[in-house]
């Protein structure tokens, strides 16, 4: 049984936000007298994360996912509530805490732009107190896992986005952190680069038992990496639990496309009491509840002359899209 490594209790965060009326008059008014209001972007959230767990944070733009990650890694101070990561108060940013974590942001980079990534790796190694030999060992291992050996010696500005992101990962992982905070790490990457990155993260998690907190708008990242998701809606948690349970709950039916041997069989099937989505000649699409899928299939195969059949899962993006606009996804 893994122990909890992240504790969050009744956490809230407010920001002062200024608003401006449109037009020149509004601009002048805004220059001399700013109207600021306190906006509560995170509202009283609580959760715990176990060591070695990969947790996906889901939510629409501006829901508060990144703010939660930034509070977890200690970049911003919480307004209310308590937070503990690996036994530390993150916002105190103690040296030992910082050596335990890393933050990777898909839209920001820390590599030295004009130099090859290897220079940034050795710079980070010296910051994390690693000697040259140890640093070299880790760079070799990680570059092998990431398959970027050839790109280490080219200037960063000459690398493709995918190669750059892999190098960013290596720079962020050189100190073997136990907790990884990833904010949209696959942003802008092509399908192959996304898949490689996901494979790497899976492998890294298996080998090091590192805890991973991830936000992403690419559903494939979430479905292939995270067993557990935390859905954030307007700064509150609308769901915290297993991803497959959530998907089942939000999508209780599956579609079965059945190709009958003859049109008459299709007509018989249409009248047999199943929920029919559509019918075309000898092809018929039925909607069947997840819980009765096995019994329904048995009945269809026993009573009708079937040539072929396909079970279609509803598109995951569609289901997740529902989550993003739902206030409460509790089961």
């Amino acid at each position: 049984m893994e122990k909890n490594i992240i504790y969050v209790k009744n956490l809230s965060k407010s920001f002062d936000v200024s608003s401006k009326e449109p037009g020149l008059k509004g601009t002048i008014k805004h220059f001399f007298k700013r109207k600021t209001t306190s906006l509560k972007v995170i509202k009283n959230i609580s959760f715990e994360i176990k060591e070695g767990e990969i947790v996906g944070f889901l939510g629409a733009n501006g829901a508060g996912k990144t703010t939660i990650l930034k509070m977890l890694c200690g970049l911003i101070y919480p307004t209310e509530g308590s937070i503990s990561v690996s036994g530390y108060l993150p916002y105190r940013r103690k040296e030992n805490f910082l050596k335990n974590i890393t933050l990777i942001m898909g839209q920001k980079q820390q590599l030295l732009w004009d130099l090859p990534p290897i220079e940034s790796f050795y710079l980070n190694a010296s910051i994390y107190d690693l000697d040259k030999l140890e640093a070299k060992k880790r760079i070799n291992k990680l570059s092998e896992m990431l398959e970027i050996d050839d790109d280490l010696f080219k200037p960063v500005r000459k690398l493709s986005l995918g190669q750059r992101m892999k190098s960013e990962l290596l720079a962020a992982l050189i100190h073997k952190p136990n907790i990884l905070f990833l904010d949209e790490p696959t942003l802008g990457l092509d399908i192959n680069a996304q898949r490689n990155l996901r494979n790497f993260l899976q492998k890294y998690n298996k080998e090091t038992n590192a805890t991973i907190c991830l936000t992403s708008h690419y559903m494939k990242d979430i479905t292939s990496l995270c067993k557990r998701v935390i859905c954030v809606h307007n700064g509150s948690i609308s769901y915290d639990g297993k991803l497959d349970l959530l998907l089942k709950k939000l999508s209780p039916v599956k579609e079965i496309l059945i190709i009958c041997r003859s049109e008459s069989d299709a007509i018989k099937l249409e009248k047999s009491g199943f929920m029919v989505k559509n019918k075309r000649k000898n092809e018929i699409t039925l909607k069947v509840e997840n819980k009765s899928i096995t019994s329904s299939l048995k009945a269809i195969l026993n009573n009708f002359d079937i040539e072929d059949l396909y079970i279609n899962e509803p598109p995951i993006d569609e289901i997740i899209g529902k989550i993003l606009i739902k206030k409460d996804c509790s089961i």
Partner: protein
């Protein structure tokens, strides 16, 4: 152990930033030419002021050259370290890349103040010292070890005062987001430091001593160089430097509590 770590990291900073700068040869050559032309221009301007007067504010042209030499050294230090690093603070805060700095197990002020270096500023430092050597000759200064050590103490204090002022202004970016103009104002005040403080009116002298301590930055080291400074002025300079460094440090740590990071 800690000092060794910081020295090791600084040697990496030097290595990486020199390597980055040397990628752009033409830029370095242009910077070097600008440094030489700027010094020639400044001396020419100073000579115009002294054309009809033998003395300005009690300083002769040959003595005023010492201030010019110190100004050139400080400007070189500004261009080598302060300009590439402290102007970046604004960018770090605006674009949210300060996140990476704050999450490193190293002092964030050390990191953002010393990460980069612009090698072309070294030429200005060398030119400044050459000008000072020439001033020893033309002013027939009896330079000894005492004057030399006092001079270096006051110059180091000047560097710290200038750094703290600049760092203080850059830190306000955490609240105001854009403060490039303020650092430009500071640079233009530094230009005033090329002239002896006594050449300004009484009220301006008070302003440049109390509010923007230009007097401490160039005039006191110059007086020490000439062997004319009173001991209390040197102590005052050390005190002001300590005050500025500790205040800017505390201000930075205080400001970080308000850092909200850029939105993604």
């Amino acid at each position: 152990m800690r000092v060794r770590k910081y020295l090791k990291v600084y040697s990496k900073f030097l290595h990486t930033s020199l390597a980055s700068e040397l990628e752009y040869k033409t830029n370095i050559i242009i910077d070097l030419i600008t440094a030489i032309l700027s010094l020639i221009g400044s001396i020419f301007l100073l000579s115009i002021f002294f054309q009809n007067n033998n003395r300005i504010g009690g300083w002769e042209f040959e003595q005023a050259l010492i201030i010019q030499g110190i100004y050139t050294i400080l400007n070189g230090i500004t261009n080598t370290w302060f300009n590439p690093n402290l102007t970046e603070i604004v960018k770090h805060i605006r674009e949210g890349t300060l996140d990476f700095v704050l999450l490193k197990p190293i002092d964030s002020q050390f990191f953002i103040s010393l990460k980069k270096i612009n090698p072309s500023g070294f030429l200005e430092i060398i030119l400044g010292f050459c000008l000072l050597l020439y001033c020893i000759k033309i002013n027939q200064i009896n330079f000894n070890l005492n004057i030399l050590s006092l001079f270096f103490i006051t110059i180091i204090c000047s560097i710290f005062i200038l750094y703290s002022l600049w760092f203080f202004i850059s830190t306000t970016t955490i609240w105001f987001v854009k403060t490039w103009n303020a650092t430009e104002v500071l640079r233009s005040f530094l230009y005033i430091g090329r002239f002896p403080l006594n050449s300004f009116s009484f009220s301006l002298r008070i302003f440049f001593s109390v509010f923007i301590p230009i007097a401490f930055i160039t005039t006191i080291p110059s007086e020490v160089f000439l062997g004319l400074s009173q001991l209390w002025k040197i102590f005052l300079e050390i005190l002001v430097a300590l005050l500025f460094v500790s205040t800017s440090r505390k201000f930075w740590l205080f400001a970080l509590k308000f850092y909200s990071s850029a939105s993604s």
